[in-house]
Assembly symmetry: C2
């Protein structure tokens, strides 16, 4: 059997962006059999040299690894380029283009793209995360006045992952409130949500999918039954409609996609 | 006063990767005054044409916006290129290079880099998030047997954001356990951690920084006092040393960096 092709993602920092870029590129070649490995914090000439030597030692007649890098420090990059690999330099060309556009040289230091360089933004994200945790799943409703958005939906519609992601990634103060049977007796908004109608954002989901998710949790329970899932989703959707709450179907969306939709709405 | 330069990030999907790339590039030019805006889900010729027309209408004698895109569908990209902007095409060149390397054409469809394309990985991340929440802050210790890693540290050392990030981003089942005064009476490991010594990973933090963080939460409290912070950090570090627990200082690290360090350790 043929070996999967090695994909090396080399970064002078965490490598998260580099890995996402490499995956975005390679997603254009769905039939390739690939094996990713991440080499973060290659931020000195010595480390780059060691990595190149390691690849040299492992070099056989087989296909060379695909090496993706976001490093822009010339000396470090020069060492890496000696490695036996097919090189994909993800940043350098665009940095050059920007140098021309701005008419000034780039500051080429390792880890320029430091997540904490933007201290204010970083602290905002951490505060937003605290907030999301403190107002998860219907608790902490006294703090709803501080929320940027309050996600509503039935149990297991995707509220918690989405609110945590909005906080961690985007610094959005996202609370979430579960709609349960009690809330469906009338068609009124649940009491804690009433003052915050304009902050509500509804999540919905295909009842079949919800049934599958809940079955994984509590197989055979009334909670997981298809009837119950259909009932809850139906009533939740009626509530959204009646109160003019924007809504998004999470059935085949990732947390990133749902969050992105909510962000666009908020902006 | 000069206007900040407009930065447009255009994607046929959520645009998260594109935005991170644009920020990584522009971090090389720290003195530029920039104003980012994200245009996700530009996945049809019609949408691209509308965006180009919008930029055309807004076009003045002033500097053209910097337009970053990760779109690889030729027709969509061609429409975008008509827009009055300085264009940075982040993927196309590397996709071409990969076509040559693989000897086959790329599949150019909008949103190829779909977060849920990898269903298994996605479900794993969501399960890991459930797990991290269920074993956050010392609760759910009966499930520690299922954990990939158990973060330990004093209150506010960064355990919760790190465990949630490890789960959401990397699908790692990360629990976390707070070290508090009771745990420092002896130099034994807290009882719930004993069977899982090899899964422990310690977080530490500069006492001054901890004092500042805790003061924001409960100003003037014993909990926030510098003495208390010094005592707890000191005792926690002794515990790490005695029990040979790997440790990472979170004082000036972002969640992404801490998580990345833990990942490298786990691998």
């Amino acid at each position: 059997m043929p070996q999967p092709r090695q994909v090396l993602v080399v970064s002078d920092h965490t490598g998260i962006t580099a890995e996402n870029m490499a995956r975005a590129l390679l997603a254009h070649f769905p039939d390739e059999d690939l094996n990713y490995s991440l080499r973060p914090f290659i931020d000195t000439v010595a480390k780059a040299r060691a990595l190149a030597a390691e690849l040299e030692a492992a070099d056989t007649q087989a296909e060379k690894p695909l090496l993706f890098t976001t490093i822009t420090v010339h000396e470090v990059l020069a060492e890496l380029r000696r490695a036996p690999a097919v090189h994909f330099d993800l940043l350098s060309r665009s940095v050059q283009q920007l140098e021309e556009e701005f008419g000034r040289p780039a500051v080429r230091l390792p880890g320029r793209f430091h997540d904490m360089a933007d201290q204010q933004g970083y602290l905002g994200r951490m505060e937003a995360l605290d907030f999301a945790l403190a107002t998860d799943d219907g608790v902490g409703d006294k703090q709803y006045g501080l929320a940027d958005v309050i996600l509503v939906g039935v149990s297991r519609a995707g509220k918690t992952p989405t609110s945590l992601f909005l906080a961690l990634q985007h610094g959005i103060r996202a609370s979430n409130y579960p709609l349960a049977e009690d809330d469906f007796e009338t068609e009124q908004l649940p009491r804690p949500l009433e003052p915050y109608r304009t902050k509500l954002f509804g999540l919905t989901i295909d009842p079949q999918r919800l049934h599958a998710i809940r079955t994984q949790r509590k197989a055979g329970s009334r909670y997981a039954s298809l009837e119950q899932c259909e009932y809850e989703v139906h009533r939740a959707e009626r509530l959204y409609q009646k109160w003019n709450i924007p809504v998004r179907d999470t059935t085949s969306s990732s947390v990133e996609e749902i969050a992105s939709g909510i962000l666009s709405y908020l902006r």
